[in-house]
Amino acid sequence: MLRKAIPGLLLLWCTLSFSVEMSTALAEWDQRATSPRGPRSWRFGNPQLDRLTTCLDDVRGQVPPGSVLVFASPSGQEATERAAFFRTRWAAYLLPEHEILPIDDPAAPQVAEYVIDYRAGLDLPRLELLAQLRGCRLFKVRPL
């Protein structure tokens, strides 16, 4: 009795839980174009990510491979969101041929060759506007 009852109940629970996860995944997939997710939870298909990808596609045409790029974007409303951090990680993934570091990295002032301003509104004396791209600005960094 016990031999079948325990696995049987567990199997039933697993089947129900599997159905829930499957339908959740499908429902979220259907709503991917209207998802209000922050950068930490972005997934392919989200419009927020599509906007960043568009900007970075333009950057790719302007900057030689292997360049050191600093990425700047606004912080989230709450510090725990770490929105700028996660946007930078996405930028690094989407531009693997480049070196990408966040603007608040201690090494940034020394090593940066270009800066991507993704709606951060940067206004720094060493930055020279190179191009106004779709959804972002690309700057060349003047040497120290």
Binding site: P7, T15, E21, L26, W29, R43, D105
Partner: protein, 435 residues
């Protein structure tokens, strides 16, 4: 159009790995091993050989040109033909497929469909595994200079690179890094998990319990994979390595079992940083079983158990220290006062909605220590669990965040093997009562 070609490349590479591993069949196969389990052991062994070849190319400063890789793979398959000391018996295909197999394969299929859309892709594919694979593909090798950049600490530069290497190698054959196709690796490891579990469950000698456990394992892995976003993660490799060792841990120690466990240990050590202690625990458990059974230390068994992990671990450690990749956040002094933070965080992590309460199956580890038949599996799971807890007490990072972002995922390494062990223990209990 590139995605189907890239997917074909992933599948073709997986087949080549298994063919390469099959050259060692004389050493790896135990009498009576089924064809699916042989494929698992061959696949893991082939992946280890390719990992070592790529490591050698990196050490020599030779880039991974696709033609060179083809030649090396062909040469490795040819040369390895001379390695086996004796031919293995012909493989036995499973003729007893049942409802549990069907349910598990259905779960795998559904998971694969969601993974291929990238909707259930792990965020770590972006922050860790995928970006490394993509970079290594462009660099035609492991880019240690890039890993060593101070700002790239977020990529966990000190981790072993087997999974990014598999991503990069399959991409090199197509000429493009295609994330959709790379998700197939997860499905392949999921399939290997099912094949090994099936072999382990044969030891239960109870068809109904075996089929139920297989279905539970398939559904649990798929539902957690979808709910916790696990496609593209390296945690599947750890779970597959543990399950690959389970059949050998469930029978009395033997030569082929030593090799199977050794290969599983090496595979885990090449997959993730926590795979290194897992390899030690796995190989140590089998060695201890041998010492208890034979009342002596069998040095040849020790070599069989430790050689694959040592072959993987030594060059990895060399590279990590040479390029200063080891992160300070990995270790620190043991701080018992953290228990106040760790225990509530563990409870919270166990209640992760993606597990649907099934995370509690990890408690089978200590519980099954009292069942003689499955004690080796339970011991490995319990020791690895204790290692994870030890890390929480020592790592100099924000503890609560660390536990909440890792524990639910780490226990996935253990739960699939514990489901198999639990089913075997249940069948054992029934058999004891019927005698």
């Amino acid at each position: 159009m590139i995605a189907p070609i890239a997917m074909t490349a992933v599948l073709a590479l997986a087949v080549v790995l298994a063919v390469l591993g099959s050259r060692f069949s004389g050493a790896l196969v135990h009498t009576g091993d089924s064809a699916p389990h042989r494929c698992v052991v061959y696949g893991l062994a082939g992946a280890l050989v390719v990992h070592l070849l790529l490591t050698m190319l990196d050490a020599l400063g030779i880039s991974w040109h696709p033609l060179l890789l083809v030649l090396l793979l062909a040469a490795a398959i040819g040369l390895a033909h001379f390695v086996p000391p004796r031919p293995a018996e012909p493989a036995r295909l499973p003729s007893d497929l049942g409802w549990g197999d069907a349910l598990a394969l259905f779960a795998l299929l559904v998971f694969t469909c969601t993974a291929l859309t990238l909707w259930t892709m792990t965020p770590d594919f972006i922050y860790h595994w995928g970006i490394k694979g993509s970079r290594f593909f462009l660099h035609r090798g492991v880019d240690y200079a890039w890993l060593a950049r101070p700002w790239n600490w977020v990529l966990h530069p000190d981790y072993p690179n087997l999974l990014p290497e598999l991503f990069a190698t399959s991409a090199i054959f197509v000429g493009k890094f295609e994330p959709h196709a790379q998700m197939l690796w997860t499905s392949i490891f999921f399939l290997l998990m099912l094949a090994s579990a099936r072999e382990g469950l044969r030891a239960a000698g109870d068809r109904w319990a075996g089929q139920a456990a297989l279905a539970i394992l398939g559904l649990t892995s798929a539902l957690f994979g979808m709910g916790h976003l696990m496609a593209g993660a390296a945690d599947w490799l750890m779970a597959a390595a543990f399950l690959a060792a389970v059949p050998a841990l469930l029978r009395p120690p033997d030569r082929a079992g030593d090799w199977q466990i050794g290969v599983a240990a090496g595979f885990a050590a090449a997959s993730k940083i926590e795979g290194a202690p897992f390899a030690l625990i796995l190989a140590g458990t089998q060695l201890l079983r041998r010492m208890i059974a034979e009342r002596r230390l069998d040095w040849r068994a020790a070599v069989r158990l430790s050689l694959p992990a040592a072959a993987v671990g030594a060059p990895w450690l060399l590279r990590v220290f040479r390029h200063h990749l080891f992160l300070g956040s990995n270790s620190g002094p043991f701080d018992l006062s953290r228990a106040d933070v760790i225990l509530p965080a563990l409870a919270e992590a166990l209640a992760d909605p993606a597990w649907h309460g099934l995370s509690l199956l990890v408690l089978l580890g200590p519980a099954l220590l009292f069942v003689r038949r499955v004690r080796p599996v339970a011991a490995v799971a319990t020791l690895q669990l204790l290692f994870y807890l030890y890390v929480y007490f020592t790592a100099p990072v924000e503890t609560r965040y660390y536990v909440l972002t890792s524990f639910a995922r780490l226990i996935f390494h253990l739960i699939p093997a514990l489901i198999v062990a639990g089913a075997v223990a249940l069948a054992e209990r029934r058999r004891d009562r019927s005698i």
